[in-house]
């Protein structure tokens, strides 16, 4: 994976919907097929980020919980 085309959004410590807003802002001007990873601590991200991706045509690649942190990888849509 090319480091330039992978973005990490650090949403740790934020309650929803702030992680969604941070992700939305980060993705706004990204080209399609860019990989983005969101890291959060609010368990709500596990529902909200996939819902936001479905609405906006982005694809979830992976979502996992790592103790008290949640990692969601997605690929931007067209």
């Amino acid at each position: 994976m090319d480091a330039v085309s992978r973005i990490v959004v650090d949403a740790r410590g934020l309650l929803c919907p702030l992680p969604v807003i941070r992700l939305q802002d980060a993705v706004k001007n990204l080209p399609p097929d860019t990989e983005v990873e969101l890291i959060g601590t609010d368990p709500g991200v596990m529902q909200d980020i996939p819902a936001w991706c479905r609405i906006n045509g982005h694809r979830i690649l992976e979502s996992r919980s790592d103790g008290n942190q949640y990692h969601i990888k997605l690929k931007t849509g067209r």
């Binding site: 309650l15 929803c16 479905r54």
Partner: protein, 373 residues
């Protein structure tokens, strides 16, 4: 240059509905676009659906003020973790098959809360100013994105402060939206708006709901197949909550000015707030979930934690003296498992320095009710 959105001219033609039920429908040669204020509740969902069903392109907009009551805020507390942790606005958008734009208005919204031109409601809720502000922001979004009009789920008489027949024109006028603001659920009780007059939407297929009853909305939801919806018991804003407003008023009083940051208003949603002295207060976690939440703030606040017994993480907001920290430790000990012990050891962290205090827990009668916020 080609004009888009509400500046673009649209040719209008008359379509006679074969059923004769709705009379002539005026169609245009392009799809008009509406931005819907989506709160996540039933009314805004219905309003958007009514307009979607008329062939209008609808996208949702949802504003985050910091005071929003979210399932996730409740989920901080462990006892509430069985509740679904969904964001209702996102869920509504997905149900309707529309895009949703969530906008952070935390900074701009401060002026609405601090200086409401139309005053507060029963608590610190500036509902009318809030509606004017949000419709104004939606208007700005509409202009920037080439949309034609704005939809809200307002119903005349539904809310005592902001949704009255006399305040509806105030919202339209002061927001700048004027007759591009359409309320599909009560439109037939109001003068026709631009989308109705121009035939972008059929007024006959809008509604004339009024009053506090929710029955017509529930019946419409059933007819439209939207029977699963959020029913927030206390509304969607913490400012309508008496306890929350009291804590915010206390914060302003203690600071000597009406000012807040996001951390302040998030922390007002969590824990037991105790103000033993005017210049500092304690935020005591009530259970594990709140303790975990407060952990995220402990590097920014003086804090205390019992070490000889199990007990809650407690943040201190203000400028406590060493004597104050000892009083704080006695209060924290009161809420620990050592409340009946002679001595409880409490770790204190203040200004980057750690200390250890051995204190006698306060007895319940030593905590005056007026300390409790």
């Amino acid at each position: 240059m080609k004009k888009e959105g509400h500046d673009a001219p649209a040719r209008k033609y008359r379509y006679n509905c074969p059923s004769q039920r709705h009379g002539p429908i005026f169609m245009t040669d392009r799809t008009h676009k509406a931005v819907a204020l989506i709160s996540g509740g039933l009314d805004s969902m219905l309003a958007a659906k009514v307009i979607l069903d008329q062939g209008i392109h609808v996208e949702g907009i949802n504003f985050f003020t910091g005071f929003c009551v979210e399932g996730h805020t409740h989920a901080i507390r462990k006892r509430d973790q069985a509740k679904p942790k969904r964001n209702n606005a996102l869920w509504v958008a997905e149900r309707l098959g529309i895009k949703l734009h969530i906008i952070d208005i935390i900074e701009e919204y401060k002026d609405v809360v601090i200086n409401p031109r139309h005053g507060y409601g029963a608590n610190l809720n500036p509902c009318l100013d809030c509606k004017i502000f949000m419709v104004g922001k939606a208007r700005q979004w509409m202009m920037e994105n080439g949309f034609d009009f704005i939809i809200t789920g307002e119903v005349i008489g539904q809310r005592p402060k902001s949704q009255r027949k006399d305040t509806m024109p105030v919202v339209a006028r002061e927001s700048g939206a004027d007759d591009r603001l359409l309320r599909p659920l009560c439109a037939r009780n109001l003068p026709p708006t631009l989308p109705e007059r121009e035939g972008w939407v059929d007024r006959e297929r809008l509604h004339g709901f009024s009053g506090r009853t929710r029955k017509p909305q529930m019946e419409l939801a059933k007819r439209l197949g939207l029977e699963d919806y959020a029913q927030p018991a206390g509304g969607c804003c913490f400012l309508t909550d008496e306890n929350y407003s009291r804590k915010l008023a206390d914060l302003w009083r203690a600071r000597g000015e009406k000012r807040y940051e996001l951390d302040d208003i998030m922390l007002l949603k969590v824990g037991r707030h105790i103000r033993p002295r005017p210049h500092f207060k304690l935020i005591v976690a009530r259970e594990e979930g709140e303790g975990r939440f407060l952990q995220g703030y402990k590097n920014r606040y003086p804090h205390l934690q019992t070490v000889s017994h199990g007990g809650p993480l407690t943040l201190v907001d203000g400028r406590p003296s060493p004597q104050d920290m000892e009083l704080a430790a006695r209060i924290v000990a009161r809420y620990s498992q050592g409340r009946n012990a002679e001595t409880v050891e409490v770790k204190t962290v203040y200004g980057g320095e750690e200390g250890l205090l051995a204190v006698t827990p306060l007895k319940p009668h030593e905590i005056p009710p007026e300390w409790m916020l």
